[in-house]
């Protein structure tokens, strides 16, 4: 399931205009200053943003180009958006079960899968809370489980750990990594955290005002910072580097 992306989307002041690939089974990290176009790109791949030009292809199937627009639910692409949009009328468990059903499980299996996810997250206590009665970090973890439960061929996660504390973020990174490996799913992870990129991704892509300004293996991009932004990100890496290896045995 190789994802090939070439797209142009006009935004105020600049166009998002990029071209890149995500080879089957690999994970791409996407970084860049706020407003540089990261969410725009993953939205376009997921199908909730039209593209003005280019072509998005998944293993030869065209998902979108300037003329066609395959609807989101027929793309086998799953998205956890920056705003998780947990369904306000469903509790945590039901939100996850919705993902599982949307991914193809029947009612009973979806329910069982949701319960299992809640247990893996250690959130049994708040399983029947509606989103309005969840903490920010709990919401984000439920939404992540919902996206994983839908078992997409390509997983797009937009700032999935932003509201999590250090330990929860480590756990979730490990969980995502485990799932991606187990299922052989490709993924794109949008994040402001160098730790996320190191822990999860094979390749790293850095954007600025809609353009790719650096691209390559994660370590390498950090080792040779292409500009001030990349240098600043690299500087946030914790002292006892490389984290990525520590994190696999939390």
């Amino acid at each position: 399931m190789t994802l090939e992306v070439a797209l142009r989307v006009p935004r105020t002041g600049f166009d998002v205009d990029v071209e890149f690939q995500v080879p089957a089974g690999s994970t791409l990290a996407m970084m860049g200053p706020s407003g540089s176009g990261k969410s725009t790109i993953v939205h376009a791949i997921a199908g909730i943003q039209k593209i003005a030009a280019g072509r998005i292809e998944l293993s030869g199937t065209v998902l979108a180009d300037a003329k066609q627009h395959r609807p989101p639910h027929l793309r086998e692409v799953g998205l956890l958006g920056q705003d998780p949009h947990l369904f306000p009328h469903q509790d945590a468990l039901k939100n996850i079960a919705f993902g599982a059903r949307a991914g193809g499980l029947d009612k009973a299996a979806a329910k069982a899968a949701a319960a299992e996810w809640i247990a893996r997250l250690g959130l049994e206590e708040i399983a029947t809370h509606r989103p309005e009665a969840l903490s920010g970090g709990q919401r984000q973890r439920i939404a992540l489980a919902r996206a994983l439960a839908a078992a997409p061929k390509i997983l797009l996660i937009d700032e999935p750990f932003a509201s999590l504390d250090v330990e929860a973020a480590m756990d979730m990174r490990a969980l995502v990594r485990e799932e991606l490996e187990r299922t052989g799913t490709s993924a794109i992870v949008v994040s402001h955290s160098a730790a996320d990129a190191l822990a999860l991704a094979d390749d790293l892509l850095v954007l600025e005002r809609g353009r790719i300004i650096a691209q390559g293996a994660v370590q390498q991009v950090f080792a040779e910072p292409a500009n001030r932004f990349v240098r600043a990100v690299a500087a946030t890496l914790p002292a006892q580097h490389p984290m990525s290896i520590q994190e696999e045995q939390p």
Binding site: A46, G47, I48, P71, P72, H73, E76, V77, G78, L79, G81, D83, P84, H85, F87, P88, H89, F98, G99, R101, A102, G103, G104, E132, A133, R146, A147, A150, P152
Partner: protein
């Protein structure tokens, strides 16, 4: 955000709100005080009254169901249409509201009557004529009640926005699943309002029914027609019209309060 300290209603809203309640409720109280209590029970439990009430309930429910089946898809369509088209549809749909119901009844007669192409077509197909049948009552009620359902559901769908639907679609949920599990539950408050308006309007319908369906006891004589008939009779007829009205009111209140049971347990 925590929800147990909802922003309280501004104090200055209370006076007009009470005035509003007064405008709606005081006339009803006036009606009740003028009721002739000695004959009230007899009037309200006469076989004809009960048969009219039963017919009203059956046709009212049938019309509401029909309106939900036709109106909810229409509301969804409108809520997801470009502003310009939605605008046009909204005006188009509001138009039957403007029509005095009796004219609506005439229009329905013109459309389905035996002189019309549709009437003749239905006749040749199934050998039935719609007007003056119980089916005609349901059609007349649906004609006047449908706009209420559509417009209030549409308003609520717009307020709920498309973000959650998109999230559901990116999880792989098809259109039916999105509609039934996300869109409609989120629009529940408007749906509730719409169904209440629709049912209430349907069982209160008089003018269109009188013309299109006629006034045959047991077949097309709903409560409002029974009330009208009683009202037109001189003398004590007026008392029994009031009695029948109170019976209809009481029934409506009970139905609306029972409706709580099925209220989709959605957003507060």
């Amino acid at each position: 955000m925590a929800s147990d300290t909802g922003v309280r209603v501004p104090g200055f809203a209370i006076a007009p709100a009470l005035l509003g309640v007064g405008l709606l409720v005081l006339p009803l109280l006036a009606l009740i005080t003028r009721a002739s209590w000695s004959t009230l029970v007899d009037d309200a439990t006469s076989p004809q009254a009960l048969s009219a009430l039963w017919l009203s309930l059956r046709t009212g429910v049938a019309a509401t169901v029909l309106c939900v089946l036709l109106g909810v898809p229409l509301a969804v369509l409108m809520a997801r249409s470009p502003a310009r088209i939605a605008q046009l549809l909204r005006a188009l749909i509001a138009v039957p509201l403007v029509l005095p119901p009796m004219v609506g009844g005439v229009a329905l007669l013109f459309l389905f009557g035996r002189t019309s192409p549709i009437g003749q077509f239905i006749d040749s197909l199934w050998g039935i004529t719609l007007p003056f049948s119980t089916a005609a009552v349901v059609i007349a009620q649906s004609f006047v009640a449908l706009p209420f359902l559509v417009l209030s559901v549409e308003g609520s769908l717009r307020a709920a926005g498309a973000g959650y639907e998109q999230a559901a679609a990116t999880l792989g949920a098809g259109r039916w699943m999105v509609l039934t599990r996300i869109t409609l539950p989120l629009a529940a408050p408007g749906l509730v309002a719409g169904v209440i308006l629709c049912f209430a309007r349907a069982i209160g319908e008089f003018g269109a029914t009188a013309l299109f369906a006629g006034n045959a006891p047991g077949i097309t004589q709903t409560m409002p027609l029974a009330i009208y008939t009683a009202f037109n009779g001189a003398g004590t007829g007026r008392d029994s019209a009031v009695a029948l009205s109170l019976l209809l009111l009481a029934t409506a209140v009970v139905v609306l309060l029972l409706a709580r049971a099925w209220r989709p347990g959605a957003l507060k």
